[in-house]
């Protein structure tokens, strides 16, 4: 019930739908009392021999009328209440999505995509269920249940009502007991199913070993026994699940029996008419549903409550990147300065970057190299303010990035991330991601510089080819080049290539870098790479090691230093020699 309080804000928002829906529901509950009454009147008139064709027609028409009115009313409360619930889920989804767009990478590091998806789908569905089915069940079981009991007690016989309702608590008790049992067994069945799932996962992942050792039959045997276990656990569930219907049936049967025995006694001593007895049993039949629904209600509420809590918790996480009050929205130029910058991931122990000081002037290119995990990507992401420094400062054009708005900062930067991500839409839309209003010529130009234009023309529908599951499958290199085109289209003041050329071959890399140099002579470029050839021509190269700058200088200076850079460079040269080696 607490959940209804939590959802009050929404019920208020949809006041009209809910109030009218509930009014209609109550109306339906009232109208439903009518047909049994008609049955009683007709039976009594028949048994007293006073029924006329006129009165029969009269009652028939009234029944038809009620039937149609109830049909319309039932139709409309559904639209009102279920519709409102549907709008609630739409609203929650929107809120979640909007919230997601505001969250910093830190948020995405903690939350797994699968969980976020589950919150936005399953959990919201459970909340919708509460706002629809939950409200219906509550109102309906209270009104229908209440009205039926009242009519039985007031208009027929309160004594008979009391007697026939005697077995009902037994029903409530046993169904709730079954519920607990079912819950436990269901969990066991779920666990067995997840074991089965794990086995399949292991089998598919280890298929080489399975085949190499001819273990297919043994695997099948293991799978068979696990699936046997699933069946067993599910049968245990079925054994409890199958108790519900017969139990309810039995108890209702007993209620009917009591109603008949004691009702007949009343009929015999004249305190009850025959029609009333029939009417009574119909009401008894109508009482079953609210009885069951009430038990069900708690189930819905429990699920809804847990789900709403999860969604709410998610919505309350505040991991936005904060802007200072009165943040500026401009930079003077493309100089970038890291001043004694240090950074540790929130909650992390070891610093990722320590005391980094670098100055890159507008128009220069900075190369960042180092082993995996040395801090290259973090270095670049700090520029985008995906994370904030713990110590030191980061300036753009002489202004601290923390003194300007995120919008203006990010509008200056074109970013090509390491894990090139394309959206499953057309290629042209992917390239125009950051600049939807770009002209086709601009887009082609950017694609040309990224050396992907010719590839694109080779696809079945050129620039309008869909990417991903529903379209072409692109190679890693093609994806990277499209990501590069996407960033280039922005003609950004600062371009960041985070190991973005790893999947293209040496020749293509060379031509892309050459085009970039020409096009971006006046602008700042950051290139991080595993392959040192990508940074060879940079104005300044820094070598990161464990978050610190271990070597820095131009290519020739670093070669002369004969340290990590020089060694790695030579090794990579030889390697590429090898790749080409056998050709001649």
């Amino acid at each position: 019930m607490l959940l209804f309080k939590d959802l009050m804000w929404f019920f208020k928002l949809e006041k009209k739908s809910y109030i009218s829906g509930i009014v209609v529901l109550v109306l339906v509950a009232f109208l439903n009392l009518f047909p049994p009454y008609v049955v009683r009147v007709i039976i009594d008139e028949i048994s007293r021999g006073v029924l006329t064709s006129v009165s029969l027609l009269h009652w028939t028409l009234l029944l038809v009328g009620t039937g149609l009115v109830v049909y319309v009313l039932r139709f409309s409360w559904r639209l009102m209440i279920f519709g409102a619930a549907s709008r609630l889920s739409r609203l929650l989804r929107k809120q979640l999505f909007d919230h997601f767009t505001l969250m910093s990478p830190q948020f995405y590091q903690k939350q797994r995509t699968g969980d976020l998806m589950a919150h936005a789908t399953n959990d919201i569905q459970a909340v919708e269920m509460t706002a629809g089915m939950g409200v219906l069940t509550l109102v309906d079981s209270l009104t229908t249940g209440g009205l039926v009991i009242l009519s039985m007690a007031l208009f027929i016989s309160w004594k008979l009502t009391l007697i026939t309702l005697l077995p009902m608590p037994l029903m409530a008790w046993s169904t709730s007991r079954y519920g607990t049992m079912l819950h436990k067994r269901f969990h066991r069945a779920q666990a067995a199913f997840s074991d089965l799932n794990d086995k399949v996962l292991e089998n598919i992942n280890g298929m080489r070993v399975v085949k190499a050792f001819g273990e297919e039959e043994a695997e099948l045997e293991a799978f068979r026994s696990l699936s046997e276990d699933v069946v067993e656990k599910n049968i245990a569930v079925a054994k409890v699940d199958a108790l519900f219907d017969p139990t309810i049936q039995l108890i209702i049967g007993i209620s009917f029996f009591l109603a008949l025995i004691f009702g007949s006694i009343d009929v015999i001593n004249g305190s009850l008419t025959f029609g009333q007895l029939t009417q009574f049993t119909i009401y008894l039949g109508q009482f079953i549903w609210p009885m069951l629904a009430f038990g069900w209600l708690f189930n819905i509420l429990e699920r809804g409550r847990a789900s709403y809590d999860r969604v709410d918790t998610l919505l309350k996480i505040n991991q936005k990147i904060n802007e200072k009050d009165g943040a500026l929205d401009r930079f003077d130029n493309g100089d970038v300065t890291f001043a004694k910058a240090s950074f540790t991931y929130p909650g992390g122990k070891t610093p990722i970057l320590q005391n980094i000081s670098v100055r890159v002037r507008q128009g220069q290119t900075l190369g960042i190299v180092g082993k995996t995990g040395s801090g290259k990507t973090t270095f670049l992401r700090l520029l985008l303010r995906e994370f904030d420094l713990n110590d030191g400062d980061l300036q753009l054009g002489g202004t601290s990035v923390y003194d300007v708005t995120l919008q203006s900062l990010r509008s200056k930067i074109g970013y090509v991330p390491q894990d090139h991500f394309l959206f499953s839409t057309t290629i042209i839309e992917n390239i125009a991601m950051g600049k939807p209003e770009a002209s086709f010529a601009e887009i082609q130009n950017a694609a040309g510089i990224a050396d992907i234009h010719d590839d694109i023309l080779g696809f079945p529908e050129g620039y309008n080819t869909l990417v991903g599951d529903r379209g072409v499958t692109l190679s890693g290199g093609q994806k990277q080049r499209i990501s590069i085109a996407r960033a280039l289209l922005l003609e950004p003041e600062i371009l960041i290539l985070d190991d973005s050329l790893s999947a293209v071959d040496a020749k293509t890399e060379k031509s892309i870098l050459e085009s970039l140099r020409q096009m971006r002579a006046q602008k700042t470029t950051f290139i991080s790479s595993h392959r040192l050839s990508a940074v060879e021509e940079a104005d300044l190269i820094i070598v990161l090691k464990d978050g610190q700058i271990s070597e820095q200088g131009s290519h020739s200076e670093l070669m002369a230093l004969n340290g990590w850079y020089a060694g790695t460079y030579r090794r990579q040269q030889l390697e590429s020699l090898l790749e080409e080696g056998a050709e001649h």
Binding site: V39, I42, I43, I46, G49, L56, T60, L63, L68, Y71, F75, R78, L79, S86, R90, R93, F100, T101, L116, D198, V200, N203, I204, N205, M207, R208, V209, G214, E215, A218, L220, V230, N234, I235, A238, D241, A242, L243, Q249, G253, I254, F257, I261, S264, I268, F274, T278, E386, R410, S411, Y415, P417, F423, S424, G567, R570, R571, L574, L578, A582
Partner: protein, 583 residues
């Protein structure tokens, strides 16, 4: 088609089904008979006020008795139907799993693991709903409705015939609902899948969206999809409200009117049996719940069918490895391997790039042939072909002069041992990982194998030794330790031929030494095809093949190749040069 195929799975359960159906019919019978007893009570005792104690007791006790009997039978039949459904799904699962075991490797290369897994588990789970929820419920409800009609006919043939007109109305309602709802439901599912896709993609690409400042646009796009989904959801609600409960209730009122008028009109001309009227009203009361239930299961039915389609599609994938079980299969006794002009393409239609081009070489019994070359040069492909993971496109591979394709699976798998690059461990114990399911590998063999690869020292330090349980993929062990267990697994089968895919993973020096020792020992007396990533480990090979783009470009012993000063020489210098500089 799909339905018929699903129904075929019922065949093996004929007997259980017959029993369950019999129980169902009995249960329904005892259930429907209740109102008839009430009718007898009303018409023969209450109305004429003739209360014969004996017959009243009989009536009352049979009413209660039938009630209890019906509940018991009902319970039994519900459980039986569930059991049958669960067993059918189990069979289906086993069929899919077994089919997947025998699929060619190409299928695994092309199909994401997630898709295969979800065919075996989730889709079959959806089919379970079909059998448990839909089929069983339909059978039960239809039998119940039939039972009600039989009872009604027993009570009053004419009125029952009038009531028959309810059936076409209900059937038409159901058919038209199914027809319209299938469309609406499909649209709803489609919008839902768009919604999920958009959500998923946006979450994954959020850093790009934020870096490109497109948050607003994506919010709007999402809202559009969200609105579309809402629209379809509303259409669905409207449709359900139009066709399901409210409509069924309307039909109930109609039925009530028929019954009342029938008796009312009759009473105008002569006496009627009030008890029959009571019984009819009682039946009508209970007749419509099953209708509602069946209507609601219809959409689930649709979903299950789609899942079944996907499962059957996988079952119909005929790219399975032909099983060679020739009882007179020739045996591998020497371990001589010959590649004769072998070419191979991973694409089955052979139009794609050739991964191997005219590879020929011979490994004599006991020799070690090492394969070197850069990534993608074809080293692993040679191993894959020798393991018969893929059929060769052109040329022939012979073992002891016997074509590879003629060797039985049993012979090949037991005589050719693979040491994969990635040490894969199953959930189980160390012992079970070494032994696998091979009957010839007993406890002593496991112990011998473990001590042969000198893994006993670290295994001895584990709290439970060989019986130490291995979690998912042996995560508690270091990669070097896992490697050693895999070695023991291979060696326990005492293969004639070894296919070694050297691990590139970094291991600590101590384990590295153990690994190298073990490898040297394993190779003794066995023909070995070794894929080497580090030249230092294969300098003593009898033959070294240098591969480049699927071709053998150099061949010879270490010394010969160095003397050639070709590709091998460069590689050697490279590795040694860089080794000194490595920090």
């Amino acid at each position: 088609m799909v339905i018929r195929r699903l129904l075929n799975y019922l065949v093996p359960h004929k007997k259980a089904l017959t029993v369950a159906s019999f129980l169902l019919i009995l249960a329904t019978f005892s259930d429907v008979i209740g109102p008839v007893l009430v009718k007898i009570f009303l018409d023969q005792h209450l109305v004429p006020r003739s209360f014969n104690r004996g017959s009243l007791i009989i009536l009352a006790s049979s009413y209660l008795g039938l009630n209890i009997l019906s509940a018991v039978l009902q319970y039994r039949q519900l459980v039986s139907f569930n059991e049958i459904a669960l067993k059918i799904v189990q069979q289906l699962r086993i069929d899919v799993f077994s089919h997947v075991q025998h699929l060619e490797f190409r299928v695994f290369d092309k199909t994401p693991a997630g898709a295969l897994i979800s065919r075996i588990t989730n889709d079959t789970e959806a089919i379970k709903e079909l059998f448990v929820g839909v089929l069983a419920a339909f059978v039960q409800n239809v039998v119940f409705m039939l039972g009600v009609f039989v009872a009604m006919f027993y009570l009053d043939v004419r009125l029952a015939s009038f009531c028959l007109i309810l059936l076409p109305i209900i059937i038409i309602l159901m058919i038209s609902y199914r027809k319209v709802s299938t469309k609406v439901y499909r649209r709803l599912r489609k919008e839902l899948s768009y919604l999920n896709a958009k959500l998923n993609e946006s979450i994954q690409g959020m850093s790009i969206i934020q870096a490109m400042r497109q948050e607003k646009r994506f919010r709007q796009e999402f809202q559009t999809i969200n609105d579309n989904y809402y629209r379809e959801a509303m259409a669905n609600i409207r449709l359900e409200s139009l066709f399901v409960r409210p409509a069924v209730d309307l039909i109930y009122t109609l039925a009530l009117i028929i019954v009342l008028n029938y008796f009312g009109l009759q009473s105008l001309t002569g006496p009627i049996e009030i008890g029959v009227l009571y019984a009819f009203i009682n039946y009508l009361d209970r007749f419509f719940e099953p209708v509602n239930m069946m209507m609601q299961r219809l959409s689930q039915f649709q979903q299950s069918l789609v899942a079944a389609e996907r499962v059957f599609e996988l079952l119909d994938d005929h790219r399975i490895t032909s099983k060679v079980t020739a009882p007179d299969s020739p045996a591998i006794s020497q371990g001589k391997i010959e590649f004769k002009n072998v070419s191979f393409s991973y694409d089955s239609d052979a139009r794609g790039a050739m991964a191997l081009k005219s590879i020929s070489f011979t490994a004599y019994p006991g020799q070690t042939v090492a394969l070197v070359g850069h990534t993608g040069s074809g080293k692993s492909t040679i191993a894959n072909l020798l393991m018969r993971f893929y059929p060769v496109t052109h040329g022939e591979i012979l073992i002891d002069g016997i074509p590879l394709s003629r060797l039985s699976d049993q012979e090949l798998r037991s005589k050719v041992g693979l040491v994969a690059q990635d040490p894969f461990l199953f959930v189980g114990t160390i012992s079970s990982n070494v032994a696998l399911s091979r009957s010839e590998v007993k406890e002593t063999e496991v112990r011998d194998a473990v001590s042969f690869v000198q893994a006993e020292s670290f295994i001895g330090r584990l709290p439970q030794g060989l019986q130490e349980p291995m979690g998912e993929r042996g995560a508690t062990l270091s990669s070097g330790q896992r490697q050693l267990i895999c070695f023991a697994r291979t060696i326990a089968g005492n293969p004639k031929i070894l296919v070694l895919d050297e691990a590139t993973a970094n291991v600590d020096t101590e384990t590295e030494e153990a690994i190298q020792n073990a490898l040297r020992k394993m190779r003794q007396g066995r023909t070995t095809i070794a894929i080497a990533h580090r030249l230092s480990t294969i300098q003593d090979a009898d033959l070294i093949l240098v591969l480049h783009h699927g071709k053998i470009v150099e061949r010879g012993t270490h010394a010969e190749l160095l003397a050639q000063e070709g590709l091998y020489y460069k590689m050697f210098i490279l590795q040694h040069g860089s080794k000194d500089k490595e920090e």
